[in-house]
């Protein structure tokens, strides 16, 4: 079952005679399509600044998709970390390095055609495999995972990976400071 806000929208729209779950399904496809289109913008835009904006929008849409998968906590984390932190970081990096206004600079290398062909072939194969597979209809997890359960899992069963991740983040932090520091002669 889809969760809160979309459920609410669904209930509202049902009053206008639309079929049950139509709004939910339609909104999923709209969100998914916007995610894909903005992702295409990320990889094709000639302005790297626009790329970052497209990326933010695409990640935001993915966060919406998470709602349809009963993962509200992750959707919030996605928006907080990706859109709020990582894309901002990208924007800062772009502003520190690239000449954003110059559209005459080529932003793709020479293997555009080959890369496109390979990507299309790969995606076609994947989609073909996904469609061919007879997926189970039954939902194993009907209820969405609560924040409490996630916290319990992290602190009990997955305590060790959690600590390792925290170490990795610490190492990345220290490494980033060391690398990025301007050495004074």
């Amino acid at each position: 079952m889809v969760s809160g806000p979309i459920q609410l929208l669904n209930n509202l729209l049902n009053n206008y005679g639309l079929p049950q779950g139509f709004i939910v399904q339609a909104s999923f496809y709209v969100i998914a399509a916007s995610a894909v289109i903005s992702a295409l913008g990320v990889v094709t835009s000639r302005n790297i600044f626009h790329c970052a904006i497209f990326l933010a929008f695409s990640l935001f849409c993915v966060a919406g998709v998470y709602l349809f998968l009963s993962a509200e906590f992750l959707a919030v984390v996605q928006v907080l970390i990706y859109v709020g932190a990582i894309v901002t970081l990208f924007l800062f990096a772009i502003m520190l390095t690239a000449n954003i206004g110059d559209r005459s600079i080529r932003h793709t290398n020479r293997q555009v055609l080959a890369g496109g062909v390979v990507a299309i072939i790969i995606s076609v194969f994947f989609i073909f495999i996904i469609i061919r597979e007879p997926w189970k209809k039954a939902l194993m997890q009907a209820q969405p995972l609560t924040l409490q359960e996630i916290g319990k899992s992290l602190m009990s069963v997955y305590a060790l990976p959690f600590e390792v991740i925290s170490l990795i983040l610490l190492a990345a932090l220290v490494g980033a400071i060391v690398i990025g520091k301007v050495k004074k002669e």
Binding site: Q111, A114, G115, A119
Partner: protein, 626 residues
């Protein structure tokens, strides 16, 4: 006492090494090195002599080699003959080296000269001490080498260089005979020791040949007829060299060799009589040439040849003691004569050319008042060689003559007597022309320094008293005859050159002019050698050279040209075929890699692309297959 005899040659050799290595630094001090070494050798020789008088004899120093099973050792001969010769060589050698300090004073190669002198002293003393033929031959060649080096010491003069070569090559002929004789002796008698020679078979033909071959060596070394031609030319060397090597010591080595091998000769009459006749011919011939020669040193050289001939004659008739005795006395007075001549040559100057030291006796004259010491010693030496009693020459010559007549050789006695007469004549001709008479205009002379006159005086003392060293058997007949001969000779010279008497009338002299020409041209022996031996040799050598140039070199050049062509072909093959194949292989590898290296772009995205392309292929295979 005699156990140190083998050290005698060592010191001169050490002096040679020091002088040849450090001569440049030592400069004049090298003379003291050589003289010190000779003096030490003299002292040891004297010690050895005394030891020998006390009955000590030869000994062996060290084992050497086995020749065909016959042992050959380093040994030292110590007997009266070698002791006497050691003393003579060391005394005369030391005195002459002291004299040389004055004579060679201004020479540029002063230390080199003393190095050679020391080398000669060492070799000569080694030769005297050798107890077998192999050692003797080694030192024999050593003194020959020194003779060569010292004759051509002033090699800037072409005449000196030529004289050195002439001496070397001429003596080589005799040395070859000696070598063959030594080998023949070894293969016939299986011994090389002098002490074994007395015990060999008597009147054996092979051993007679050995004796004559050994005598060949003596002929070369002692300048006997027919190999005497080198000695007069050897006078191109410095006068001390002439005195030491070519009058007193080295030329006496031949006589010493005959005396050393006397055991062999005494039992082989043919060989012995050959020695006697060769000696007689040499003595007469050389004395007659000396009569008319005008070069002061050449007169003395011919005199040396003549006296050596007399020694050979004495040995040849069986007079071992008289021959060796004359060898000793002759060493003193002939060295003295040469040193006097050197002193005169050194001090005399011709006005026009200050550098010119003349050797022509006709340009000298009246020198006695200017050079009293040299003149006195020269007269003493002259009296000694002429045989006036009681000087040393009288005793030894008298003994030789009596030996010859007593062994029953009247012809040889006549030759010896005539030689003595001529000796007295030519030596006093020299003395009268040089010391007395009118002084020639434009010729200046002065007395030599003490470093030269003191050795002269010492040698004069030896020349006077050396005759008393051995007891004489009084033989008043021959004493009288020889004294008379000497007096007649001196008198003739006096009347000819002081009184200027014309004993023979002009037409007689004109009739015998051919004789004078014969003598002054030295019996044309050099010319005969030139025509009979040297010219054909040169002609042979020239035709051989032509053959060499035309045929041998032609063949060699042809071979060279053929190989050049062949190697050019090879090089072409190598360059285009072999290298071509190698280059082709390399180029193929290069082409392949040029294609393949495009895969390795170094761009990570490229690799990712290929990796995903591979993934797509794997998925495709999986889809089709599974």
């Amino acid at each position: 006492m005699v156990k140190y005899a083998h050290l005698i040659p060592l010191f001169p050799f050490i002096a040679f090494a020091i002088n040849i290595l450090f001569g440049r630094r030592l400069k004049k001090a090298s003379a003291f090195v050589s003289i010190t070494a000779s003096s030490i050798a003299l002292v040891i020789s004297a010690v050895t002599f005394i030891g020998n008088l006390n009955g000590e004899g030869s000994y062996t120093i060290a084992k050497w080699i086995f020749l065909n099973g016959v042992p050959l050792n380093f040994g030292v001969t110590v007997d009266p003959l070698s002791c006497m010769m050691l003393l003579v060589v060391t005394i005369v050698g030391t005195l002459i080296q002291i004299y040389s300090m004055g004579y060679m004073h201004d020479d540029a190669r002063f230390s080199r000269f003393f190095a050679y002198m020391s080398l000669f002293m060492g070799s000569m003393l080694g030769l005297l001490l050798a107890d077998n033929f192999v050692m003797l031959y080694m030192f024999w060649e050593g003194v020959g080498l020194c003779s060569y080096l010292l004759i051509s010491f002033w090699f800037e003069k072409p005449a000196a260089a030529r004289a050195g070569m002439k001496a070397f090559i001429t003596t080589r002929i005799g040395d070859t005979g000696l070598l063959i004789g030594i080998l023949l002796l070894f293969f016939s008698a299986k011994t090389l020791y002098f002490k074994d020679l007395g015990g060999l078979a008597i009147n054996d033909t092979t051993l007679t040949a050995v004796g004559i071959l050994i005598f060949c060596g003596a002929i070369g070394k002692s300048a006997q007829f027919p190999l005497h031609v080198w000695l007069p030319d050897a006078m191109e060397g410095p006068t001390p060299v002439s005195a030491l090597i070519h009058a007193a010591t080295m030329v006496a080595a031949g006589v010493y060799l005959i005396a050393r091998c006397y055991g062999l000769f005494i039992s082989h009459h043919t060989a012995l009589i050959t020695v006697a006749y060769v000696g007689a011919i040499t003595a007469f011939m050389a004395a007659s040439i000396a009569l008319v020669n005008n070069d002061i040193k050449r007169i003395l050289a011919y005199s040396t040849i003549s006296q050596l001939g007399l020694m050979m004659l004495g040995l040849g008739v069986g007079g071992y003691e008289s021959g060796t005795f004359h060898l000793m006395t002759h060493a003193f007075f002939k060295a003295l004569l040469f040193l006097c001549a050197g002193s005169i040559i050194h001090s005399i100057h011709i006005e026009d050319d200050p550098a010119m030291h003349t050797q022509d006796i006709r340009k000298m004259g009246g020198l006695f008042p200017k050079m009293k010491i040299t003149g006195t010693t020269l007269i003493i030496a002259g009296l000694a060689i002429a045989g006036i009693p009681p000087l040393s020459g009288f005793w030894s010559k008298d003994e030789l003559l009596s030996e010859i007549i007593n062994t029953g050789h009247p012809v040889l006695f006549a030759v010896a007597a005539l030689t003595s007469l001529m000796t007295a004549f030519y030596i006093f001709r020299l003395i009268f022309l040089v010391l007395f008479g009118k002084a020639r205009p434009g010729v200046h002379a002065h007395e030599s320094p003490y470093v030269m006159t003191i050795p002269l005086s010492i040698l004069a003392v030896f020349s006077i008293f050396a005759g008393f060293f051995r007891p004489v058997r009084p033989d008043f007949l021959t004493m009288g005859i020889s004294t008379a001969i000497a007096v007649i000779g001196i008198g003739l010279a006096y009347s000819f050159y002081i009184l200027n008497n014309k004993i023979l009338s002009a037409d007689v002299r004109a009739r015998f002019a051919f004789l004078y020409r014969l003598l002054s041209n030295k019996y044309y022996i050099d010319e005969i050698y030139e025509a009979a031996l040297i010219k054909p040799c040169f002609r042979l050598a020239e035709s051989a050279a032509r053959f060499d140039l035309g045929v041998v070199d032609g063949a060699v050049n042809l071979t060279a040209r053929v190989s050049v062509v062949l190697s050019k072909m090879q090089s072409w093959f190598d360059l285009y075929i072999v290298d071509g194949i190698v280059n082709m292989v390399a180029n193929i590898a290069w082409l392949c890699s040029a294609i393949l290296r495009r895969l390795q772009t170094g761009l990570v995205q490229n690799y990712i692309l290929i990796a995903f392309f591979g993934l797509a292929i794997i998925i495709l295979i999986k889809l089709i297959g599974g």
